[in-house]
Amino acid sequence: MRPEVLTGEHFLTGDEACAEGALAAGCRFFGAYPITPATEIAERMALYLPEVGGTFIQMEDEIAAMAAVLGASSAGAKSMSATSGPGFSLMMENFGLGIYTEIPCVLVNVQRAGPSTGLPTMPAQGDMMQARWGSHGPYEVIALAPSSPQEMFYQTITAFNLSETFRLPVLIMADEVTGHLSEKVVIPEADAIKLQTRKLPRGRKDRFKPFQPGPDEVPPMAAAGEGYGIHVTGLTHDERGYPAMSPEAHEKLVARIVGKIRNNRHRIIQTESYRLDDAEIAIISYGVSGRSSLAAVDEAREKGIKAGLLRLITVWPFPEELIESLAKKMKALVTVEINLGQIHLEVERCSRGRCASFLVGHAGGTVISPDRILESLEAIHK
């Protein structure tokens, strides 16, 4: 039997580290469908979940995988799936069900180059807007972007903690390089890992209202079989969980599920600043592109260009205020991402024309080289 937390120093791929993070976070159900470059997460979970008392199942497609993950979480288990672009598209309807019925779980997208089947074995960051808007209707999401196997480990734990705290499916938007790259991963003692679990109901079971929020706008959650007799529906519902078919009820519920994320964004958003204090040009990047950007900043500094980096660890909710304040200070903002401009549009929106904004990106298939970023920084510097 292996321990739940694989304490020690390991040489792991990002996908493997992600699975280790899930096991350490207490994930006990994993439902998935094989897809490059996320399959290795499922493979490791298939091997180790039964050892820690969990269950793995390979479902018939990603629609079923996402449904099973929501079902398992409804029955009380911390649950997860992992996929890539095509599967992510298939999961979007049930992702929306999870958002609206407030079911905690974690969904990993190890991004490959799309559209369609695209370049299955090669990296991209082209699903960032799909992560934000992929399901129908207005809602808010939480999406993290790891840039190393070590971060795959920690962010998976963070994703579970956020999902349990705010009751929603949380996204990990990795990329093929981060998923397949092998690096040192340090896993701490189990005691050193802080875990959050969903708030549980209190008081009389027959009076429990499953969607009556607390002051943090998050309702406590009862699992099936605990005797609360709850109803959960993807229809617009009231505090009792009953369908409530009116624009007023809809406004109220949507406002709360949006508000619980927006109003808690300062608790959720994490970024990392590098050489930004005296910078004139700020790079905004995330995931594997954040690593290229880091190298480019150092090279630019050697050439006398005052560049810095804001690496987004949380991409959604978007750090709007931070970008706005950077735009006030900088000559230019440069977004580096493996797509044709997705987070770049957000940066432009939040900078409100206060400084120039540029994109360094391409359609996908390889990482963005530090040289390419440096060229762009040099051109802007002139």
Binding site: A68, A75, E93, G234
Partner: protein, 280 residues
């Protein structure tokens, strides 16, 4: 429960969210009868109702769980079975009942049905088959008889329907039955048996839909019930390939399959849980 003092109570009140009544089902609809049978069976089967959950997809029948005073999950269209699969695997102590319609379970959700049956997930699946999509106003389904008229087959359905018990049997279901809403006692007994069996149980319940299907096919509200009475032939243990569903020739009813096989969970516990090296 908000029952007024002088009002007589219904024997099923304890299982119904009475504050959600009136329900959405049309006059002449058969879903309510199938629903009552399901609730009676749940009560009489002796299963722990606190550990029982009802799951549905989308459609008229899928509204059933919402009226049930148990843990109930009204999910996305076609996805009740994989949702229920996740629930059962995460907590094998739960009794998981899927109550949904033919359009939901066999068109958009057909793939999930065959795989859950193949895996022998321990679920009880009750499918109310009203031969069409009722909630959206009477469109053709995977169960609509050939040549029948629906709003999307205005000249008659060019497709043949599924034989649902045969599909369930071929996919590996361990309990397969078909009844109509006229045969409430047989139906109730069958659901009760299914609840007590371990494994993937499937019960098809034929039900009229005068609003969506009947009025386009010269079938008045009572005609379907008359067909059920006059044309049905009970043949327990009949091979599912030999059963028919034809308003001219007859409707075969009965319990066709009742066998024991290890469930997914049984096999998972034996193969994966104890010796992880065996998984490699």
């Amino acid at each position: 429960m908000t029952t007024k003092k002088n009002q007589p109570t219904h024997p099923l009140d304890s299982l119904v969210r009475t504050d959600r009544i009136p329900h959405i089902w049309c006059p002449g609809c058969g879903v309510g009868t199938a629903f009552s049978s399901c609730l009676i069976a749940m009560k009489s089967s002796g299963i722990d109702l606190q550990k029982t959950t009802m799951v549905s997809g989308i459609g008229c029948s899928a509204r059933g769980p919402g009226y049930t005073n148990l843990d109930s999950y009204h999910t996305t269209h076609g996805r009740a079975i994989p949702y229920a699969t996740g629930m059962k695997l995460a907590n094998p102590q739960l009794n998981v009942v899927v109550f949904s319609g033919d359009g939901d379970l066999f068109a958009i959700g057909g793939n999930h049905f065959i795989h859950a049956a193949r895996r022998n997930i321990d679920l009880t699946v009750v499918c109310v088959n009203n031969l069409n999509y009722g909630m959206t106003g009477g469109q053709v389904a995977a169960t609509t008889p050939s040549l029948s008229k629906t709003t999307t087959t205005p000249q008659g359905n060019p497709e043949p329907p599924f034989n649902l018990p045969l599909l369930a049997f071929a996919s590996g279901a361990t309990y397969v039955a078909r009844w109509t809403i006229l045969h409430t006692r047989d139906l109730t007994k069958s659901i009760e048996e299914a609840l007590q069996r371990r494994g993937f149980s499937f019960i098809e319940v034929l039900a009229p839909c005068p609003t969506g299907y009947g009025r386009r096919n010269r079938e008045r509200p009572l005609d379907a019930l008359r067909f059920y009475q006059e044309k049905s032939i009970i043949k327990n243990d009949a091979h599912p390939a030999d059963i028919i569903l034809d308003y001219q020739k007859g409707i075969t009813l009965g319990t066709f399959v009742d066998v024991e096989k290890p469930t997914f969970t049984d096999i998972y516990e034996k193969t994966c849980r104890l010796d992880p090296a065996a998984c490699m």
